[in-house]
């Protein structure tokens, strides 16, 4: 029987690796991810996980080791955060370019300057064009479940791309909450051993992986990544459904809609703000306001078709971001507008709050809904991007 325990998000991320029977772990600690690599090393030390654990000297080396390990045909795992992810940057492109299905929890932490250790999404957002798939989690159960699902998506032969499983610093990483631990037997059935076909370094059967390529090849190479990314949309849905069938938890695929039947406006969220927003939606519904939540779970591939469908059913959309692309708006807001251009004329508003780990409060989310309802009523956008809770800035 599946067991229930109170654990942190970091423990859930580590336990996901255990259940996925990863074979190589190469990691370097960084606050607030450190507990992930410590838990995993304990699993290996205690004989619970049969894996090679490589305590490397940097995140750049961690990802390099995972690239090499995966290219020899094993399932590999690492985890990082913020500056560590930034140090990995160039190797992220190697992992994605070589179609190596590495899974990496990233504890979303603000990136310096200024130095801070709290939640912001500007670390992973900077990697959104790297070719990695990215999903965001709302609670610790989802963190555990998504590590397992991420391997299944990543290793699908139509996809073969690495995945970041993003969890908010401290709000999940250091928070304990009840998590159900699936039985190993069930996970083994859901996630069989990684059986690589396209890149498998064996001395007896030589193959070039990561070769030099002249301009005659790179454009086709990029198109392969584009096709795999597009294929991932369908695979994410299939894996979600198969997981729901086996474990009884249905996350809705790339996007979860909450109280969206007959909703006039919706707020698109990423990460833990989604959870608080559920309660705000309930409150507002009780007050007679027709609002709903669109929880963006998989940010890459961007669920363009789903967002277009949602936009066709509401009068206005608000988009919450925990990162800024300076001079424009939040990345999720920009992607939403881009997806809707030529398909929808409803007002789309961008909201920024909670940068650097500042708390995103119920009143902040209420304000986002109020503004979105106003825009729906007036059918126009008066302010494109609203910074909420910034001293000296009128929201």
């Amino acid at each position: 029987m599946a067991e229930r325990r109170i654990v942190t998000g970091n423990y859930a991320a580590a336990y996901g690796a255990l259940l996925s029977r990863v074979e190589v772990i190469a990691a370097y600690p960084i606050t607030p991810q450190t507990f992930i690599v410590e838990h995993v090393s304990e699993f290996v030390n205690d004989g619970k996980l049969d894996a090679e654990y490589m305590p490397v000297e940097s995140e750049h080396s961690a990802m390099s080791a995972c690239v090499a390990a995966t290219a020899t045909g094993v399932r590999s795992y690492t985890a990082t955060s913020s500056q560590g992810l930034a140090l990995m940057h160039e190797v992220l492109y190697v992992a994605a370019g070589l179609h190596l299905p590495i899974v990496m929890p990233v504890v979303n932490r603000t990136i310096a300057a200024p130095i801070g250790i709290w939640c912001e999404h500007n670390d992973t957002m900077a990697e959104r064009d790297s070719g990695w798939l990215q999903c965001f989690c709302e609670n610790n159960q989802e963190v555990l479940d998504m590590v397992v699902q991420a391997y299944k998506v990543a290793e699908n032969t139509k996809v073969l791309l690495p995945v970041m499983v993003n969890l908010d610093a401290f709000i999940l990483s250091h928070t304990v909450e009840p998590v159900e631990f699936p039985d190993q037997k069930d996970v083994d059935e859901f996630l069989p051993r990684y059986d690589p076909k396209h890149a498998y370094l064996r001395p007896k059967d030589p193959m070039v992986v990561g070769s030099f390529a002249s301009p005659e090849y790179i454009q086709e190479f990029r198109y392969q990544t584009e096709e795999s990314t597009q294929n991932a949309k369908e695979v994410i849905r299939q894996v979600n459904d198969e997981f729901a069938e086996k474990f009884g938890r249905d996350y809705g695929g790339a996007v979860e809609e909450y109280r969206m039947d007959d909703a006039e406006v919706a707020l698109i969220t990423l990460g833990t703000v989604s959870a608080t927003t559920r309660d705000v939606v309930d409150e507002l519904r009780d007050e007679g306001k027709s609002v709903g939540l669109v929880k963006m779970r998989w940010f890459r591939p961007y669920p363009t078709e789903i967002i277009r469908d949602i936009a066709s059913r509401v009068k206005a959309l608000g988009v919450y971001d925990r990162a800024m692309s300076f001079g424009t708006g939040g990345p999720s807001y920009m992607d939403t507008k881009s997806a809707l251009y030529g398909h929808s004329t409803i007002p789309v508003l961008g909201f920024l709050a909670g940068l650097g780990g500042r708390d995103v409060m119920v009143k902040d989310i209420r304000l986002m809904f109020e503004r979105t309802l106003e825009a729906a009523k007036k059918d126009r956008v008066e302010k494109e991007v609203t910074w909420i809770g910034t001293r000296g800035v009128q929201p």
């Binding site: 370019g97 070589l98 179609h99 073969l160 396209h198 890149a199 059967d205 030589p206 193959m207 070039v208 992986v209 070769s211 030099f212 390529a213 002249s214 005659e216 090849y217 086709e220 190479f221 198109y223 392969q224 096709e227």
Partner: protein, 296 residues
């Protein structure tokens, strides 16, 4: 506007020649651009360089596909590279060759100037570096730039790279070649085999280019495919080996970038695989026993 394509080998200075020609045209009040095109290969591999000259500003940033002039620094290139490909029928070939234009076969009949730039270079520079001499030939064969401007171009471009003294020498090599050209028309007898390249669609291409040894219509690809790249054809200098002097220390075997030096069964020591020796001379450089000498 006129467009020039230079054919040379890595290390022969085709790129500097293209730049010096652009500088010469610029000195005369024109707008000019020059740029290289090379693969990832090293010294000795065939390279291209291009020069475009116009009275007005040049915007086009593509490579040159239909040059008005081709300039060939290494005559051996013509044996396997179709240097005249795309050359305008009204254009002209300027070739480093001791032959008369009529004796040269470019696979198309076109106005041709030959100059024995190697001999000129050996006389003036003491080294077979032909990029300056060939520019003097270009000036006299085409009349598009004056020899004084070419000399200035060489000083401007070569000076900062190799020093003013050597640049002066190179300018003299250009002037010497200027008066030693032969003009005529080349033959069009040979046909070059069509250059074949492995150009898979994205569906045909192995995912992420992870490639096993594969035979394609255009040859081997994947691990071990460099066996088909016979770098021996790049060779100008050949190692002369003195087995007597050789101590069998294997420094040459260790340093050879093309694995063209083989270890032999004793009492023999090392042997050279001339299919792959590109004549770079690294073995001569590293040999502590002076058992290897590079000869032309």
């Amino acid at each position: 506007m006129y467009e020039v394509r230079f054919h040379g080998r890595g290390g022969q200075g085709a790129v500097m020649a293209a730049q010096a020609l652009a500088d010469a045209a610029f000195v005369e009040g024109n707008y000019a651009v020059a740029f290289p095109w090379f693969g990832a290969e090293r010294r000795g591999a065939p390279v291209l360089a291009f020069t475009r000259v116009d009275e007005n500003k040049i915007n086009i940033k593509t490579r040159v596909y239909n040059p008005d002039y081709i300039v060939v620094l290494d005559e051996k290139l013509m044996d396997f590279v179709n240097v005249a490909e795309g050359l305008s029928p009204d254009g002209m070939a300027i070739l480093n060759s001791p032959l008369d234009p009529e004796e040269v076969d470019l696979g198309m009949s076109v106005k041709t100037a030959t100059v024995d730039a190697t001999t000129v270079a050996l006389e003036v520079l003491g080294a077979p570096i032909t990029n300056s001499a060939i520019l003097g030939a270009f000036a006299s064969a085409t009349g598009l730039v004056s020899i004084d401007s070419v000399k200035q171009g060489i000083l401007d471009i070569f000076g900062p790279r190799i020093g003013d003294k050597l640049a002066e020498k190179n300018a003299r090599a250009a002037a010497a070649a200027h008066d030693r050209i032969k003009i005529g028309k080349c033959k069009a007898e040979r046909t070059y085999p069509e250059a074949k390249k492995w150009l898979p669609t994205y569906q045909e291409m192995p995912l992420s280019l992870a490639t096993k040894p594969t035979k394609t219509d255009s040859g081997l690809v994947g691990p071990g495919s460099s066996v088909e790249n016979k770098t021996g054809s790049w060779r100008t200098f050949t190692p002369k080996y003195d087995e007597e002097a050789c101590t069998n220390c294997l420094m040459c075997w260790f340093y050879c970038p093309d694995a063209a030096i083989k270890r032999l069964e004793p009492p023999k020591k090392v042997g050279f695989d001339m299919d792959y020796c590109k004549g770079c001379g690294i073995c001569e450089e590293v040999c502590p026993a002076d058992a290897i000498e590079m000869v032309r």
